[in-house]
């Protein structure tokens, strides 16, 4: 394939060198990640499984007083800057002071995840923190950076989690009743944390090539498709009915505004979460992100040995098994 005639070989060489230099420089910067949420929401656990970090987890941790930058090496050898935010809800007075700090850090970072504990009985306080955070001129930009995650869904009942076994590992799948429960709970959180910001929201996804639909809210270019507004289930369904050939694109636009049910322990829905995060990355951040991601397969796969330590599950490898995993007489792989 010949180069465009209006570029000389020397010009092409200089352009290429300039692009490679800038790309490498961008990729060498650490990825800046903020995970917010109440104390105990599982922020560190989520970060550990998503980016191969090694943050301490557990119920007893020193109380962070101010946003603190923690520099980590990801498993790929690349670096990650994690902003450890003071847990929301430690004290009302402290939270008021924290909001200005949160806002400043969120504006400058690449990825923002808000972890909502799946067993929260009340969302009122966290919703009021979000309102305070998004008040002001930068609210719209911040609202579009946030990805809401319902964490620790492994603790929800009925406990019909199934471990689908495949060689030395497996994947956790919720039974139908539990899947319905997760969906209903996530939708409730979406109503509380996402819908109120409908006026400020924009949803973007990649253009797989060939998408060329536009209206007063929908726009596109060679790489990106944008919807200005909140992509509710109804909005998504309406578009999918009108343009069935593009149903997948509208599904992806919808996914950006869902609250995602996730479990760090069960590695549940982590790939879905990562897609939502990638969709919200700003210009230049993808090079940093991809160096930390590693193998996408590991996002779902749980080793059998790890599963044994997590509890007693219904195991499926084509036939039902209900086992007491603490039984020392069981074969080591089960």
């Amino acid at each position: 394939m010949s180069p465009p005639t209006h570029f000389s070989a020397e010009q092409l060489g200089r352009i290429k060198a300039d692009v490679l230099h800038k790309y490498d420089k961008e990729a060498a910067k650490p990825l800046s990640v903020v995970i917010m949420g109440q104390t105990g929401a599982g922020k560190s656990s989520l970060l550990n499984v998503l980016f191969g970090a090694d943050l301490p987890t557990g119920d007893i941790r020193p109380v962070t007083k101010a946003p603190e930058a923690i520099h980590l090496a990801g498993k790929s050898g690349h670096s990650l800057t994690f902003w450890d935010m003071p847990g929301i809800g430690e004290s009302v007075g402290a939270d008021v002071d924290y909001m200005a700090m949160y806002r400043e850090k969120l504006i400058g970072c690449d990825v923002v995840i808000w972890a909502l504990h799946s067993d929260n009985r009340s969302t009122t306080y966290e919703a009021s923190c979000l309102r305070r955070l998004l008040d002001g001129t930068e609210g719209a930009a911040l609202a579009n950076k946030l990805t809401f995650v319902m964490t620790k869904v492994d603790i929800l009942t009925p406990p019909s989690w199934i471990f689908a076994l495949h060689r030395d590992g497996g994947v956790f799948a919720p039974g139908a009743r539990l899947a319905d429960k997760l969906a209903a709970k996530a939708l409730h959180y979406e109503e509380v944390f996402v819908r109120p910001w409908a006026h400020a929201l924009v949803s973007t996804t990649y253009n797989p090539g060939g998408f060329a639909l536009g209206d007063d809210r929908l726009s596109y270019d060679d790489y990106t498709i944008r919807y200005r507004g909140y992509v509710s289930a109804e909005v998504c369904q309406n578009y999918q009915r009108r343009y069935p050939a593009e149903a997948e694109v509208f599904g992806r636009l919808r996914d950006n505004h869902r609250v995602l049910a996730c479990s760090a322990l069960f590695r549940f829905n982590l790939a879905q979460l990562m897609v939502a995060v990638v969709n919200k990355l700003g210009p230049g951040a993808t090079a940093r992100f991809r160096r930390l991601l590693g193998e996408a397969e590991r996002l779902a796969e749980v080793p059998v040995d790890t599963m044994r330590g997590l509890g007693n599950f219904l195991i499926w490898d084509g036939a039902r098994k209900l086992l007491d995993l603490s039984d020392p007489t069981l074969p080591p792989k089960l």
């Binding site: 394939m1 010949s2 180069p3 465009p4 570029f7 010009q11 092409l12 200089r14 352009i15 290429k16 300039d18 692009v19 800038k22 790309y23 961008e26 009925p158 019909s160 199934i162 689908a164 994947v171 956790f172 799948a173 919720p174 039974g175 139908a176 009743r177 899947a179 996804t205 990649y206 253009n207 797989p208 060679d222 790489y223 990106t224 992806r252 829905n269 790939a271 879905q272 990562m274 897609v275 990638v278 969709n279 990355l281 210009p283 230049g284 993808t286 090079a287 992100f289 991809r290 991601l293 996408a296 397969e297 996002l299 779902a300 219904l314 499926w316 039902r320």
Partner: protein, 69 residues
């Protein structure tokens, strides 16, 4: 007490497997397209800086400039 049948289990496992592979596919594609968009932006900047002109840099031009990325 509600029971879970083998068909229910098979359905749940297949559903999970389908969703996981679908989102892994989307993740690969999302990163690739976003990366291409970033590279296109860098190429436009470089062309403007080096040639002093604004050029509509389409992806086939980018591929020609950079070869196999």
């Amino acid at each position: 007490m509600a029971t879970i049948s083998d068909d229910d289990i098979l359905y749940a496992v297949n559903q999970r497997s389908r969703q996981d592979s679908e989102y892994r596919r989307q993740l690969d594609k999302a990163i690739k397209r976003k990366d291409e968009d970033d590279i296109a932006r860098l190429v436009r900047k470089a062309v403007k800086k080096i040639l002093g002109i604004l050029v509509d840099v389409t992806f086939d031009i980018i591929e020609r400039i950079l070869g196999r990325w």
